[in-house]
């Protein structure tokens, strides 16, 4: 009951934020509303909520506004992987094609990934509770079934200089800097997984250029971050929260004025690579003769975590300035305990 109330309050807060943002954009529509960008040149919404590709923020400012006004978009992204489903929904506002503000809520049901561990800890807890005070029980942040990771992402971006579209007569790209503040709500789970922090910021520089003679867009991004799996598995590892620059890139080819195909790459963390799950205060592969066989038997696999760089191949449709539909095949590799997390991605963006 208590838990349900907490979730209710969380959703309520998010709705309040959404309402406030809508109110801002509503006020703006009196004269400042603008949708003057050419179709598709506003890009789509990446999973952190910023304007860009599917997983990489671009130097373009989200929405269809030119320097003459304001535009906003709502986005919802669903990624279906063998062991996980990522639901990412939020809102972003572009101001005068100069500044972008965004909010996104990521929800990641982990399916059966932790079910065995969750059942195990629940069983152990039940045993411990008999003749013991509840304070001595374990809390790994893992539910018996379908543990869900939730993260709030606040983003801001400012375009510094350059015209990705119009300056086809020189090689100067459009350059923007931006940042995210990410709050992962699963503190206990992240502790179990060995992450150093549950909330942290990321900063990035993006460089975007459209080469019209080739009908091709190229974006390069350097992101200063310590995130594991974009923050869904927290930030940093057992050695602390050391941020570093990681490379991301997108290439998009325009098939016609309303369709783009392309591919993306995003370098990922090695902070939790080969780090074991920390359950019962012990790691599962430390050679504890009693515990290791039990844990390894019940999970049916090792509790050693791995993380891979992300890649995707996408097709984006822009039937009108009010809607874009992006479909992708996401190759995310190893996620925590589960290998081969490759699956389908669909993203809808409504601009207004």
């Amino acid at each position: 009951m208590n838990r349900r109330n907490k979730i209710g309050a969380g959703v309520g807060r998010q709705l309040a934020v959404l309402a406030a943002l809508l109110a801002v954009s509503g006020t703006a529509s009196a004269g400042l509303y603008n949708d003057g960008k050419v179709l598709a040149t506003g890009g789509v919404s990446m999973t952190d909520g910023a304007g860009g590709g599917g997983i990489t923020p671009w130097a373009t400012i989200t929405g269809y506004e030119t320097r003459d006004g304001i535009n906003a978009d709502l986005h919802y992204t669903y990624v279906h992987l063998p062991n996980y489903d990522l639901n990412s929904g939020g809102i972003a506002i572009g101001f005068f094609d100069r500044v972008e503000l965004s909010y996104t809520n990521d929800s990641l049901p982990t399916g059966n990934t932790y079910d065995t561990v969750g059942l195990l800890t629940t069983t152990v807890n039940n045993l411990l509770t008999v003749g013991s005070t509840p304070a001595n029980t374990l809390n790994t942040g893992i539910e018996p079934f379908n543990t869900t990771v939730r993260m709030n992402v606040f983003g801001a971006k400012i375009r510094l200089f350059g015209e990705a579209i119009y300056d086809s007569d020189n090689l100067i790209p459009q350059v923007a800097i931006g940042g995210f503040y990410k709050i992962n709500n699963n503190k206990l789970l992240l502790k179990t997984l060995g992450a150093d922090k549950s909330k942290d910021f990321e900063a990035y520089v993006s460089v975007t250029k459209i080469f019209f003679p080739l009908s091709t867009l190229i974006n390069l991004t350097g992101r200063y971050t310590s995130a594991n799996q974009t923050g869904l598995v927290g930030f940093g590892g057992p050695d602390g929260n050391h941020r570093s620059f990681r490379f991301e890139g997108s290439i998009a080819y325009l098939l016609n004025k309303g369709t783009a195909i392309g591919a993306e790459y995003q370098m990922h963390s090695d902070k939790l690579h080969n780090v074991n799950l920390n359950i019962l205060g012990l790691t599962a592969n430390t050679g504890n003769a009693l515990l290791d066989p039990i844990l390894n038997t019940v999970t049916g696999s090792t509790l050693r975590q791995r993380e891979s760089d992300w890649r995707d191949a996408f097709i984006a449709f822009f039937p009108s300035k009010n809607l874009s539909i992006t479909m992708a095949y996401a190759m995310l590799g190893n996620i925590v305990l589960s290998p081969h997390q490759d699956g389908y991605y669909i993203s809808l963006q409504a601009s207004f």
């Binding site: 603008n34 003057g36 960008k37 050419v38 179709l39 030119t66 320097r67 003459d68 006004g69 510094l160 200089f161 015209e163 579209i165 119009y166 300056d167 086809s168 007569d169 020189n170 090689l171 100067i172 350059v175 800097i177 940042g179 910021f201 900063a203 520089v205 080469f211 019209f212 003679p213 080739l214 009908s215 200063y224 929260n241 941020r243 325009l254 098939l255 016609n256 004025k257």
Partner: protein, 160 residues
């Protein structure tokens, strides 16, 4: 906390460096030749556009869409001399694609200086330009050669 402060300082320093590196881009005007783009416009572009006759059809189509476009048609009608605008555009478009034609009109900035054109209005013309390509059955990739050649005029046409 210390790390955050250091990172903010780093971010601020990077911003300033990038801002300082911001190049001053000179206004682009027709100089009597093919537009320089990166990568360059292929020598086959004008031919793929249908040569002089193809460009003429495309410009007629462009003005068909512009005059039907309630976002911008009043600007063109108020300015007057639509027939002369069409004739000058036929010269200009051939020239920027590398055709052996000299554009005889005023420079882009001189021709638009007192009109107060916004980027939103400029983009409306770009959208009509793509529609004209569709109407003339000019392939999208070929159309983008012309878009690449005309895009830099944004700096001299848009004054607001």
């Amino acid at each position: 906390m210390k790390a955050i402060r250091l990172s903010l300082t780093l971010a601020a320093a990077t911003t300033l460096m990038l801002a300082a590196a911001q190049p001053a881009v000179a206004a682009q005007d027709p100089t009597g030749g093919k537009q320089t783009t990166y990568p360059g416009i292929p020598s086959s572009s004008l031919e793929k556009f249908g040569g002089e006759a193809g460009v003429a059809v495309w410009v007629d189509d462009l003005f068909y869409y512009i005059l039907a476009d309630n976002r911008i048609n009043q600007i063109f009608l108020t300015h007057g001399k639509v027939k002369r605008q069409i004739a000058l555009n036929k010269e200009l478009e051939q020239m920027v694609l590398g055709g052996p034609v000299t554009y005889e009109g005023a420079s882009m900035s001189a021709a638009h200086s007192d009109m107060g054109i916004t980027l939103t209005q400029f983009n409306a013309v770009v959208e009509d330009a793509y529609l004209a390509c569709d109407l003339a059955r000019t392939p999208y990739t070929v159309c983008n050669q012309l878009i690449a050649a005309l895009a830099p005029f944004e700096r001299s046409i848009v004054t607001r």
